[in-house]
């Protein structure tokens, strides 16, 4: 009898009771000081545990653990299908801020912010006249190479219905960054953002391709050698990933 009763009090503390039972027990606790004290003691234990250890949730993941996670290769669609995981574990939507705190390093977080800001800047049609348009895109790439010693190969997205709108160099203190903007027949914009990492990445593991989505805006970012890339578009995560993976492959 004693154990059953304590179990009920625990169920109450741990929110394991149905609404009706919970109400019934709450009434009982209002009239029974001893049981109420026991419940309060259990709740105090839980609160103290959270107070003592919750800061671990907000600490950066230790480098060696993050490196381990980054080390696993990215499953291609075909390999996921073969392993039976791709279809059963579809790409999920991730909260950008949560990803930022848990998985992105500082640089990638900045890159995403820049990419989104650039996208919004152009999407709002408040932009300055682009530096290069249409046929002058090659000129932009030549100029970029001259400035940064990095040869850009601007991806053509014709097969996905997107054509180049314009490209421009973006101000970036520690390195060079640029953007190529695309538009499809329905007016949807797709921005490709790149950032040349002038400092040596050192021991940092390469940033594995990551796709994320928030508020109907999808972002795909990856690293190749000393250049970070991001694609931003108002389309589903799956559609953007298909385009981005075609480019990266």
């Amino acid at each position: 009898m004693r154990n059953i009763h304590i179990d009920l009090l625990q169920d109450y503390v741990d929110d394991e009771l149905g609404a009706r039972e919970r109400l019934k027990l709450a009434k009982h606790l209002g009239a029974n000081a001893q049981d109420r004290a026991r419940v309060e003691a259990y709740q105090a234990q839980r609160d103290e545990l959270l107070r003592l250890y919750n800061d671990k949730l907000h600490e950066a993941i230790p480098g060696s653990i993050q490196e381990l996670i980054d080390l696993a290769p990215v499953a291609t669609q075909s390999s996921q299908d073969v392993e039976g995981r791709g279809s059963s574990l579809p790409a999920r939507q991730h909260n950008l801020h949560e990803s930022d705190s848990h998985a992105m390093n500082e640089l990638v977080g900045t890159l995403i912010t820049q990419a989104v800001q650039s996208y919004n800047y152009y999407a709002g049609e408040r932009g300055q006249p682009p530096l290069f348009e249409g046929e002058r895109l090659q000129e932009f790439c030549d100029w970029f190479e001259c400035q940064t010693s990095v040869r850009l190969v601007t991806p053509r997205l014709d097969e996905f219905g997107f054509s180049v709108l314009h490209a421009r160099l973006l101000p970036w203190a520690p390195g060079a960054a640029g953007q190529v903007l695309y538009r499809d027949a329905t007016g949807r914009l797709l921005a490709t953002y790149f950032h040349v990492f002038h400092r040596s990445p050192g021991s940092k593991a390469p940033v594995q391709p990551v796709c994320t989505e928030q508020d109907r805006l999808s972002i795909y970012y990856w690293q190749y050698q000393a250049v970070y890339y991001a694609m931003v578009a108002s389309m589903s995560q799956r559609e953007l990933m298909r385009i981005a993976q075609a480019i990266t492959h």
Binding site: M1, R2, N3, H5, I6, D7, Q10, D14, E16, Q34, D35, A37, R38, A41, Y42, Q45, R46, E48, L49, L50, L52, Y53, N54, K56, L57, H58, E59, I61, P62, S64, I65, Q66, E67, L68, I69, L71, A72, P73, V74, A75, T76, S79, Q80, E83, R85, G86, S88, L89, A91, R92, H94, S99, H102, A103, Q208, P209, V210, C211, T212, M241
Partner: protein
């Protein structure tokens, strides 16, 4: 208790989807919180992170055992639990072996230097709980798992979770000097 550092670069890990990678990364802070609370005071943050790293490594190597409907955090906590239990049992065997050596007059191994720590009463009380009860108290009280998921992590029936939780919480209440009549009508 620290294991030999793994040569991460030489590991041959299976491919995972980006969604799964993000889920694993999102579970790591929870694993760290749990591991830091689980290990004895003075055990050191390095040991807790070593435990977490071992769990992540095993999870990545055995990714095919993750069922599609599984909660990644629960699955990884279960892996961490198994590694922890292995280490607790191994330590127990080592202590017993050391005890036998002491009985035969062998030179004793110096104890770990006692570190002066400012710890809360609850942290101190937790170290006195049997590890089986401590795990249940932490999984439910700290990680907020439902009883069913705690049972899944520990590989025990829900009824056992309830009884361990009950004993653990009551022991903590006694150690923390809670007043009140223990008689339950």
């Amino acid at each position: 208790m620290s294991t030999n550092p793994t040569d991460i670069g030489s590991m041959d890990l299976p491919a995972i989807s980006n969604g799964l990678r993000a889920d694993i990364a999102a579970a790591v802070p929870h694993l760290r919180r749990y591991a830091h609370a689980l290990l004895p005071i003075g055990g050191g943050a390095l040991e807790a992170d070593d435990l977490v790293q071992s769990a992540v490594e095993r999870a990545l190597l055995r990714i095919e055992t993750l069922r599609p409907e599984s909660n990644v955090r629960v699955w990884m906590l279960a892996i961490l639990h198994n590694i922890y239990v292995d280490r607790v049992r191994r330590q127990r065997r080592e202590r017993e072996a050391l005890g036998r050596l002491s009985d035969t007059g062998a030179k004793s191994v110096p104890a770990r230097a006692i570190v002066s720590l400012q710890v809360s009463e609850l942290s101190a009380a937790l170290t006195k709980l049997p590890w089986e009860q401590k795990e249940v108290v932490l999984l439910i009280g700290l990680e907020g798992l439902p009883y069913v998921e705690a049972a899944e992590v520990l590989g025990i029936p829900v009824g056992t979770v309830r009884s361990r939780l009950s004993r653990g919480r009551e022991a903590l209440r006694t150690m923390l000097g809670s007043e009140g009549d223990r008689e339950v009508r």
